[in-house]
Symmetry: C2
Subunit: 199 residues, 2 copies
Amino acid sequence: MNSPEIQQMIQLLSRLPGLGPRSGRRVALHLLKKREALLKPLIEALQTADQTITTCQQCFNLDTSNPCHLCQDTKRDDHSLCIVADVADLWAIERSQIFKGRYHVLGGLLSALDNIGPQQLTIQPLLKRLENGQIQEIILALNSTVDGQTTVHYLANHLQSYAVKLSSLAQGVPMGGELDYLDDGTLSAAFSERKRLYA
Amino acid sequence: MNSPEIQQMIQLLSRLPGLGPRSGRRVALHLLKKREALLKPLIEALQTADQTITTCQQCFNLDTSNPCHLCQDTKRDDHSLCIVADVADLWAIERSQIFKGRYHVLGGLLSALDNIGPQQLTIQPLLKRLENGQIQEIILALNSTVDGQTTVHYLANHLQSYAVKLSSLAQGVPMGGELDYLDDGTLSAAFSERKRLYA
């Protein structure tokens, strides 16, 4: 119906996360209408990203340099390591500016359903990073899902033999959360981890 | 925080319709993870589209050829013309396979709010197409919105002097529509345009 060039463009755009055939068509038309303002700059940005972005072989972050700028930053704390599942999680923590140590990106979570075992994650390189004894604290910042908690337990077992303080993120009521709308799991976690106000 | 190459990519992706900063980041990460399967083919498809897709100078459709394949198709009815606001509307009508005549894409709708007057639309080329008297019927397939109906009235006034049958799309209950959920405007249009079942 449409020319194959437009069809191919729509088909690839439809495969982006969060887009489908309808929004793919919408994006394609929008791009074809705004060639100078959007289509050409986007092509260029995608090409530049494709050519320059690489995976840091130390923490497995995505960056133009290897080791990445977070691994190279001398102002960051070498004794503290935050383990995340995905680069998106690393970005989220960096945006919050709550953590000033180093990172390690696992590249996913253990999942029996998706057939992801320890070999598919960067656990071997993680254990190797711990060998020199520089890291004293590890924070497991993983999703509060079944897969995330499975991974927490697996890592807790394997990191026992290293002399590091190991912790995972607190669970409880999210900021601005209304009790009425919380699920039972969150409520019971918030109850069992309740904070004493007058110490 | 991120490298400028990633930031630029996210920033441009966030400007696509339906995407925002969060989904822009998600799309960027997805593309960087699937370079061979998605990023490179997408770059190529966007480049091909940018280089080959042009606007048909007869009906203002987007295609690789000018006149477009719809204007060139000898099997289509030369006496019937369907006026649409946007290429997306043309695609939607083509998908439904309900219409086998020619098209004319206005490039938008008259809108006082958005400061779009008759000069911004392809109304002059439309009147020129009508001059040879070949077109006998015109269907105004425009949105059932204030801007769409304003454009219908404007065109109806200007097409009066040409000897053409002029019609606009029927208004009423959409297929599968439940009366309970319809707005008052649709309901009253459906009532006043009611069909007699026994003729």
